[in-house]
Each structure stands twice: as structure tokens, then as C-alpha cells.
């Protein structure tokens, strides 16, 4: 959009200490004659008619434009209606005024011009802005405050520019809150004071350096950032955030690098220049509206000169600067002021760079890098969007299995009836074991304590390994740390002296074979690793063992509707990731229909029931289940305790594998179905370092590896086993 800074008057009723107009001290402030005003609107129409897609923003500026008076503005409205009938929908008026003369009358005028928001400047500091030759700050402030109250009553938004001077530096947050408190609709922008030439002598005490400006902004920025949704637009914060984080470019003219393409200044005498400062300094003069159209002005070679900065600076002053895209070397007139050339960067680039690096990025959390990289970052969620509770939940510990940080073969079958082989005599004082009180002399023997970690399947492997140890050397014994589930399976083991609680200083052997160096290497098997941990030299026969006799609940045995052939299904696992979906199990259960094959399901009471099977869920202890296994012709199971138990009892099994590998855990003689893994974890998602996912569901949904099995194929394997 073309922007015309329109300065029909240089007269002003205020004497702001840093104002260019003040320092120029025009003897007779000129006002644009009406004829010139009319010509201006003719030029506007001409431009828009030549460029049917173009819009034009006219920013009424000055001096103080409200000194023009009501009639002048009415004339302007008339000229626009007369000369821009076909293009007025593409003309947008804005105003930059000190508002001290604002009234209801002006509100009506601005509404007629389509103005919705008023631009202004303000600084309440005594002696900085004021009315009249004496620079009466109080009078100025009162009028200004009344004006913005009126403006809001009349439905206008407004935005003010606050010029940061040396006087502002000691109190950045005070100023920030002051301006925020002014009213509800006010947005504001912090700009640094710009002093040139003669200004230095008179008001050099107001000068600030780029670093000081950056620090001023940096004091305020974290406060704004934290609560930014509760403030109106405050710049440069808002603009920078949009540009750097939200990928919505909203650069000011000085930073865009394209002001030459978009901006013009029209003075009260009709002269056209690049901008107000250019006009004051006699630079970039493009002629006047009397002899040039705006289109010709925009094609002026001097504008090309300005645009050349975009080619030259990246190779010179701005070479390698990561902020080029949002700065473009700053305002060319700053460069001219300092060096006499347009082809250097502005000293205020340093302010931007310093602010972004020292304050913006550390606060926002965006990593250093090019603009594109900043644009790809998600903005930090504001702290107040999180409840305390949520934050605390995110810090809670994960569950038991994850603490082990290990693979756990499951514990498919949990206890049913009390175990008759571990009855404790009532009334007598015993240590915390099922065995009779150990005589003192044996307590003094320093056996190593086995710290059993893992599931019941691991327990069977440990038991088997210990049996082999005992066979090799009957005098070699261990104690076992008492832990739920292990005692009932290991009590009475020839290699275990006692089950109990080790004293401090005891020697330990933890059974986390998955942390062994060789785990995961091709050919490496869990049983062999365990064996080596207990001093046996692989390869050894993988024989499992459970001490004591097996006994089965006769009530259960009688109740099961035995058929000619009987298969045991076990669907459950400690890890949902090792479970085939229930629908597939149910389909599998339906396949033997009419073939006199009975299907029984065993497992935890919380396992999902497979329709079509006879349920023993939650009714069997591990020992009872082991005892019962030899009544079945085959077992169909996943990687769980039953798989190991079937091997123990010599019962044929079809085993379904997914995230774990049959080559590590499976036994020869079983038929193994290993699912193809298509997720991003070719080695399986369960293993060392993945304890936190063990008890979670597979995130792949229907693409879960355990969902790729075909029940028909599984049934074929069952049929093969039954034929043997």
C-alpha cells in the first residue's frame, strides 16, 4: 500500500523539546493552500486510477494538523468526494496529532474521513512536551488526557508514540505501567529520540545510545511477555513477536528495506520527498505535485538508489548479520546523517540486535539463529496457562515397571486359592520366611542374596539356572530377597537357603540380565546370560525348574468341559505391547468349531476375556497353572510366563512375538510367530532403557505389530502341533 505522509501545515500549538519542527522554527508556518489541497486529491485519484489494485494511506501530519481547523477538513472531504468518486474506497486516512485540540466536532470529521484510530505522541515528564512558548506541561497533559477520554467515548482507538530520552532511562517499568494505565484502548510504541546536527547543542542531554535504548526495552519486555495477552499492542514487542515467532511480517518503514517503494512525503507547498526528514534536509526531493504524478514519483531513479541498499549492505556493513531480514540496515537517513551516504547501516541496528540477543531471545526461549529458524519455534506457553496441578503431575514418578527400567516377562497367572504347601504354624514366633526357623549357625553363613527382578517368566529361568548350579555344586547356595510373587515359586529350591530380608552389608546379585553387555547381540539368549551371571559357562541346556510337587485344584479340574483335544489360550501380559488384540483371539477361538477341540483361557483376573473360551481367569496361582498344563495338548500364548511354563512341562506351544524376539527368549520345539515390526523401532520397543513404555499401549494403533497376525495361520500351526 502506498503511504503518503501528508503535512499540510507546519504550525503547531505545542513545543515538544525534541521535535524537528520546533527546531526548524519556521517564522511563518506554512499551510497548504486550498488549491494545492485540491490538486493533491486529484493526484491521489490519478494514482489510484492508474493502479486499480493499489490502495493509498494518507497520514495527516504536521506540525499539528488540528490547527487546520474544521473548515479545512471539510474542504478536504469535499475534494475527495469530488475528485476521487471512483477511488475513494481505496483511500485510507490516518492522523498523527497531539490531540490537545480534539473535540466532538473533530470526531465527526474523522468519522467522515473513515478514521477509526488516532495516532499521537505523549510524554508526561515535565519540560518535555508542553503548550505554548513556555512549554506548559500540565496544561498539555490535561488537554491530552481529556482528549483521549473523549476519543474513547466517541468510539475511537488510539495509539501513541513514546519517545525514549535520557530522562526516561531510570524508570522503564514506571513508564510502561503509566502508559498501560492511561486507558483501555491505547496502544503505544517506544521510539528512541533522534537528535541531529544543531539539536545536539540544545538538547544533547536527552540523547541515548542504542545500547541504552535496548536496555530500556529489555527492562520492560519480560513483564510484557508474561502478560502480553492482557495488553493492547505495544511496540516494538508486538511487531517483533509477530515477525519472529508468528511468521507474520509487520516491519516498520525503517526496517522494511522497501520504504522507497511505499512511502512519500507531501509538504505544505506541494513538494514531494521521500519522508519528513528528507524534506527537512533537502534530500531525496522528487519534485512536486504540480508537475509530477505519484506514479512518476514512485518510478524516480532516486528511489532505485535507496533500494540498492538491499543489494549493497548485505555485502558490506550487514554482511553475515542474522537480523538482516528484519532490519535491512535501518533507516537510510540515519546512515546519511552519520556518514553522508545512504549505503551504510543505521547506528540503531545495534539497538535492535542488542535487544533481541540480550532480552528477547532469552525471555522467549527461541534459539539463536536465522529468522527462519526463529520462525519455526513454537512460542513459549505463558506460565499462567498452566495450573499448579498440571505442573505437579508432569513431575510425578512413573510406575513400578518403569522404575525397574527393564523388560518384564509377564505374570500371566495370578494366585487363586491359598497355597497348601506353605502353611505357617499359628502362634509361634517365626522370622519372615515360610521355612522353619533357621538355626543360628546357618544364619552366620554369608550367602549371596539374589535380588529377583523381572516377571514370573524370568523367575522360571532363574529357577532353572539355579537348579543347574545346584546340580553342579550342591554346596553352592543363595538367599533370596523376599518379594511378592517369587516366594511361592521358589520356596524349597535346593539352591536357596532362605527367603527373607537381607541385612545391610549383604552381598547381592540382581537378575537384570538385560543390562549385560551381550544382551541384544545376535545369538544372545536370556537364559544363557542368566547362566553366565551365576557362573555357568554357556552354552548350557535350557532346563527350567520349579521346586516341590504340583497339585491342581480338583474343583477346577472337574469343572472344565474337557474335549478330545484341549488347548490353553493365554492372552495376557504385563505389557499391553505384547498382547494381540482381543478380536483376533476371538476369531482364533472360533476356528476349531466342530472339531471337538476345547479351548480354555487362563490368566490374570483383569485380563480381557476371549469369547468362546472357558474362562479360568483369576482362578489359578502360578503353581496351579503349571500343574494343570500337562492336561492340555497345546498352548497358544504370547511372550509371557505361560510360554516358559509350557517349556517347563513339555507342552507344545504356539507363541506370538512382537516387540520381543523369540531368538532371545523362545524355546526350540515351540512354533514361533514373529510379527514384522514396521514402526520406527526395528529391534522392538521393549528393552533396556525403555522401562517407561513397558506398561503403555503401543502408539501405532492398528499398525501395532501384534495386530498383524492372521488367526488362520496361527490355527494352522495349532493343527500342526496337534498332529504331532
Amino acid at each position: 500500500m502506498a503511504t503518503v505522509i501528508f503535512k499540510p501545515t507546519e504550525a503547531c500549538n505545542a513545543r515538544c523539546i525534541y521535535c524537528d519542527v520546533v527546531h526548524k522554527k519556521p517564522r511563518s508556518p506554512a499551510t497548504m493552500p486550498l488549491r494545492t489541497l485540491e490538486l493533491f486529491f486529484e493526484r491521489v485519484n490519478e494514482f489510484l486510477a492508474e493502479k486499480p489494485l493499489e490502495h493509498m494511506e494518507i497520514v495527516w501530519h504536521g506540525g499539528e494538523p488540528l490547527l487546520l481547523g474544521r473548515d479545512y477538513f471539510m474542504k478536504a472531504i469535499h475534494f475527495q468526494r469530488t475528485h476521487c468518486a471512483g477511488t475513494s474506497d481505496r483511500i485510507h486516512h490516518n492522523i498523527q496529532s497531539n490531540l490537545t485540540l480534539f473535540s466532538k466536532e473533530y470526531a465527526d470529521i474523522f468519522r467522515s474521513l473513515g478514521v477509526r484510530s488516532l495516532g499521537t505522541s505523549y510524554d508526561p515528564m515535565p519540560g518535555v512536551r508542553g503548550l505554548g512558548s513556555k512549554r506548559d506541561t500540565n496544561a498539555y497533559n490535561r488537554k491530552f488526557l481529556d482528549a483521549i477520554a473523549l476519543a474513547e467515548e466517541e468510539g475511537f482507538n488510539w495509539g501513541l508514540i513514546y519517545v525514549v530520552t535520557k530522562l526516561s532511562l531510570p524508570r522503564p517499568l514506571e513508564i510502561f505501567h503509566f502508559l498501560s494505565n492511561l486507558s483501555r484502548k491505547g496502544a503505544f510504541t517506544f521510539n528512541p529520540v533522534l537528535l541531529y546536527g544543531n539539536d545536539e547543542r540544545k538538547i544533547g542531554h536527552l540523547r541515548i545510545t542504542p545500547e541504552e535504548y535496548a536496555s530500556f526495552l529489555g527492562e520492560i519486555f519480560p513483564v510484557w511477555w508474561r502478560d502480553r495477552e492482557y495488553f493492547c499492542q505495544i511496540d516494538p514487542f508486538h511487531t517483533l513477536t509477530q515477525t519472529l515467532l508468528d511468521d507474520r511480517r509487520a516491519l516498520m518503514c525503517a526496517d522494511s528495506g522497501t520504504c522507497a517503494r511505499s512511502h512519500l512525503n507531501v509538504s505544505s507547498d506541494g513538494g514531494i520527498s521521500q519522508c519528513g526528514r528528507a524534506a527537512d534536509w533537502g534530500l531525496l526531493d522528487y519534485g512536486s505535485i504540480f508537475d509530477k504524478s505519484f506514479s512518476r514519483v514512485f518510478a524516480d531513479p532516486q528511489k532505485e538508489l535507496l533500494l540498492e541498499r538491499n543489494t549493497i549492505l548485505p555485502q558490506t556493513d550487514c554482511s553475515g548479520c542474522r537480523f538482516w531480514d528484519i532490519c535491512h540496515g535501518g533507516c537510510p537517513l540515519d546512515s546519511w546523517s552519520a556518514t553522508g551516504s545512504f549505503f551504510h547501516k543505521s547506528e540503531w541496528c545495534l539497538a535492535k540486535k542488542s535487544f533481541i540477543e540480550k532480552y528477547f531471545e532469552p525471555t522467549v526461549g527461541a534459539a539463536a539463529g536465522a529468522t527462519e529458524h526463529l520462525q519455526t519455534q513454537q512460542p513459549c506457553a505463558p506460565v499462567d496457562k498452566h495450573s499448579d496441578t498440571e505442573l505437579l503431575r508432569s513431575a510425578e514418578h512413573s510406575d513400578t515397571a518403569s522404575l525397574h527400567d527393564a523388560r518384564h516377562p509377564d505374570t500371566a497367572c495370578l494366585q487363586g486359592a491359598k497355597q497348601s504347601d506353605t502353611v505357617r504354624p499359628h502362634g509361634a514366633k517365626h522370622s519372615d520366611t515360610a521355612r522353619p526357623h533357621v538355626p543360628d549357625h546357618r544364619e552366620s553363613v554369608d550367602y549371596t542374596w539374589i535380588n529377583p527382578i523381572g516377571g514370573l517368566g524370568d523367575t522360571l529361568m532363574i529357577s532353572g539356572v539355579l537348579k543347574l548350579v545346584s546340580e553342579k555344586d550342591p554346596s553352592r547356595k543363595f538367599n533370596l530377597v523376599a518379594r511378592t510373587k517369587y516366594g511361592p515359586l521358589l520356596e524349597g529350591h535346593p539352591a536357596i537357603e532362605r527367603i527373607g530380608h537381607p541385612r545391610p552389608g549383604a552381598r547381592f546379585l540382581s537378575t537384570n540380565y538385560w543390562d549385560e553387555e551381550d544382551y541384544g547381540r545376535p545369538g544372545s539368549r536370556a537364559f544363557q546370560l542368566l547362566a553366565r551371571m551365576f557362573g555357568l559357562e554357556p552354552p548350557i541346556e535350557e532346563r527350567l525348574y520349579v521346586p516341590g510337587e504340583f497339585s491342581v485344584d480338583p474343583v477346577l479340574l472337574r469343572a472344565i468341559p474337557w474335549k478330545r483335544r484341549n488347548i490353553l489360550f493365554c492372552q495376557g501380559s504385563d505389557s499391553p505391547r505384547k498382547q494381540m488384540p482381543i478380536e483376533k483371539w476371538e476369531k482364533l477361538a472360533g476356528l476349531p468349531a466342530g472339531r471337538k477341540i476345547g479351548i480354555v483361557q487362563a490368566g490374570n483376573r483383569n485380563d480381557v476375556y476371549i469369547r468362546g473360551t472357558y474362562s479360568l481367569l483369576g482362578l489359578t496361582s502360578p503353581r496351579h497353572l503349571i500343574s494343570m498344563l500337562d492336561r492340555f495338548d497345546a498352548v497358544v500364548t504370547g511372550d509371557n510366563f505361560i510360554m516358559h511354563a509350557a517349556h517347563l512341562r513339555g507342552v507344545p506351544a504356539v507363541v506370538l512375538w512382537g516387540p520381543t524376539d523369540h531368538r532371545v527368549y523362545g524355546y526350540s520345539g515351540h512354533i514361533h510367530h514373529q510379527a514384522e515390526i514396521k514402526c520406527g523401532q526395528p529391534g522392538g520397543c521393549i528393552g533396556p532403557g525403555a522401562g517407561d513404555v513397558y506398561r503403555t499401549r503401543c502408539p501405532e494403533g492398528v499398525a501395532h505389530c501384534m495386530n498383524t497376525f492372521d488367526p488362520e495361520i496361527i490355527f494352522n500351526s495349532i493343527a500342526d502341533l496337534l498332529k504331532r
Binding site: 522404575l403 506353605t422 520366611t433 527367603i499 537381607p502 549383604a506 483376573r605
Partner: protein, 343 residues
């Protein structure tokens, strides 16, 4: 269910007190503030709770005890106050003035009574208790802590009848505080305790006093006949551990007195009772994964697994670890290290 400690001060010293470590660890005048009590009431209301128990130390020592009770009744809670009954005359007068119009169903004093022979008290203490019972007997049910195997209950039945007390008897077992020596019942004594308790059946029956079992009794020590009697007398008997939790005057929340240092958190860290219950359920399952109960047979016991029996008190379970080497899960080890006895 919430147990709210109005204060950690107590004016009695019981040999079996498992709250001693908690009491001694806190300032002498640790009194709950009105603001915190209102917060707790709001918290419980928001969670749909209707019952609240007030404990201590000795809750009646709090200067605003009467106001708190009236306030909680106004908030439509059923209030139970666990007291030793040793109120000063002035405090008793306050109670008499303001609480004797409250329906007996809404307010219960659970008066923890000690055997005058086995745990003798001074004459002044005894007189105070009797005066308390004479004024507030109808609102009061008796409580008794079993801390030695040769306990008797006869004196309780006498007091219940003499003062028109509620015909209920809350029976507790003195639990060990992990790592602390003190009078408590060993798991091996439990069978005897149960037999002795059930031997008072004729009195329970004749005086129609319902025995209420506090946490820590293992179901396996009761015969089927005894369980049937209990059930017929008073309905379902609960052998679990929990789900009540304690809130101290400083708004700490913990599982129970003996476990007051285990996974202690602030009430402000939770949004609802459900969250607290989940938190402690998780702790329970952590511990149960290590040791199922106070006996080895608890491991594999159907009733323990089904949740019917808690396998004894969790504090008793934890107590089994306190002389142990560091072999448990990291979370538990961290807590146990506070209680560990030196090698």
C-alpha cells in the same frame, strides 16, 4: 475419608502411641487455623465427601474446637472427634453448652479409653474422663487400642452401659512406627489377639455392642465362624488398609500416623480426594509389589489379591524393611533411608 489433626498437642501419654514421632517433630502449639479448616472443608465438599474425623494429639485442646465442630456440622458433615475425654472443666462446659443439641447421628466422639488396671491414670485424669462421659455419653462411642496380648475389654462394657454411650466399640491394634521402638503388636501375636477379642463375644452380644475393627487386622486369623458372627452383628467388616488419610495442621497429608513420613505431601498439591486416594493407592501398590503382607502367606492369598484383606497394616509391612539392606525400588529406598537403623 479424611482425618484432620486440629493440633499435635496432647495431654496424655499412652504407651502404645504411634503418633509420638509426629507429635514430637512438630512445634508444641501446632494448631490448625480457621482458614486451613475451611480449605479442608471446601476440598472435601468439592470431592463429595460427607464424613470428617477430627484428631490430634488431643483435638479438644484446640481453643476453637467447639467452633470447628459447629462449623463442620453447619457444612453438613458427619463429624467424628477422636478424643481421650480428658477435657478441662471449662472446655467441657463449652461442649455441654453448644453441642448437646446436635443430633447424635451427626456427631460422634470416639473416646479412646485405657484399661484402668493395665494402663493406670491419675485420679484427675480419670475424673475428667468420667465427667466427659457423664455429659456427652450419648454422643460417644468407646475406642480401645490393643497393645499387649493380655488385654481385657470388661471395663469398656461397664462404661458403655453406665454412661449411655453409643453401642459401638472401635478396636485398634497398636502399630509399629517404622524404625521406632515402641509398644506394638507383632504379627505372630495376631492370632492370639483375635482369639482373645472373640472370647468377649458373650458380652458383645449381651450388651449389643458392635465391634469395629480398625486397620491392620488380618482376615486369616479369624475363623469362618468368627467372621460370620461379626458380619451378622454389624454387617460388612473391613479388613483393608486405608482409604483414610491424615491432614496435619500444617496441611501435610499422609497415609496414616505410622506412615506420616512416608511420601508426605501437602494438601495444596492435590485438587480432589480422588487424587489423594490415587496417590496413596500407588504407594500401596508399590509396597505391595515388594511384600504382599505381614505374613509370607499373604503372597498368593486370594483375599489379599481381591482387596478384601490388606495383608495387615501397611506400616507393619514397611516395618519389615527397616532393618534391611538397600534393595528395594528407588522410591521406597529413598523413604526407607529416613527410618533405617544403623548397621
Amino acid at each position: 475419608m479424611a482425618n484432620v489433626l486440629l493440633t499435635t498437642r496432647c495431654n496424655r501419654s499412652c504407651p502404645y502411641c504411634f503418633a509420638k514421632s509426629e507429635m514430637s517433630a512438630t512445634p508444641a502449639r501446632n494448631l490448625i487455623s480457621w482458614e486451613n479448616l475451611i480449605y479442608i472443608a471446601d476440598f472435601l465438599k468439592f470431592s463429595g465427601q460427607r464424613h470428617i474425623s477430627l484428631l490430634g494429639g488431643e483435638p479438644t485442646l484446640h481453643p476453637d474446637c467447639v467452633d470447628f465442630i459447629l462449623y463442620l456440622l453447619e457444612r453438613d458433615f458427619d463429624v467424628a472427634v477422636f478424643t481421650n475425654g480428658m477435657l478441662s472443666p471449662a472446655r467441657l462446659e463449652e461442649f455441654a453448652s453448644h453441642l448437646t443439641d446436635v443430633p447424635v447421628e451427626q456427631l460422634t466422639f470416639v473416646c479412646n479409653l485405657n484399661d484402668p488396671v493395665q494402663t493406670p491414670a491419675s485420679k484427675k485424669e480419670t475424673q475428667r474422663v468420667h465427667r466427659f462421659l457423664s455429659v456427652l455419653g450419648p454422643w460417644t462411642s468407646a475406642g480401645f487400642n490393643i497393645y499387649r496380648p493380655d488385654f481385657t475389654l470388661d471395663f469398656l462394657f461397664d462404661l458403655i452401659n453406665r454412661h449411655g454411650m453409643k453401642r459401638q466399640l472401635r478396636l485398634g491394634v497398636a502399630h509399629p512406627v517404622p524404625g521406632s521402638p515402641g509398644g506394638s503388636i507383632h504379627p505372630d501375636e495376631m492370632a492370639h489377639i483375635v482369639q482373645r477379642l472373640c472370647s468377649h463375644r458373650p458380652q458383645f452380644d449381651s450388651f449389643r455392642v458392635k465391634p469395629g475393627l480398625d486397620c491392620g487386622f488380618p482376615i486369616c486369623k479369624f475363623s469362618d465362624e468368627q467372621l460370620g458372627w461379626l458380619h451378622r452383628f454389624r454387617g460388612a467388616v473391613h479388613f483393608g488398609c486405608g482409604p483414610a488419610f491424615d491432614i496435619s495442621p500444617d496441611m501435610s497429608v499422609y497415609y496414616c500416623f505410622p506412615l506420616s513420613n512416608f511420601q508426605r505431601k501437602s494438601l495444596f498439591e492435590f485438587d480432589s480426594v480422588e487424587q489423594i486416594d490415587s496417590h496413596f493407592a500407588r504407594i500401596r501398590s508399590l509396597l505391595k509389589a515388594e511384600v504382599a503382607g505381614i505374613y509370607s502367606e499373604c503372597d498368593g492369598c486370594m483375599h489379599q489379591e481381591e482387596g478384601v484383606c490388606g495383608g495387615g497394616g501397611l506400616c507393619q509391612v514397611l516395618n519389615r524393611f527397616t532393618g534391611e539392606a538397600s534393595v528395594r525400588l528407588t522410591e521406597i529406598e529413598h523413604e526407607l533411608s529416613r527410618h533405617r537403623q544403623p548397621v
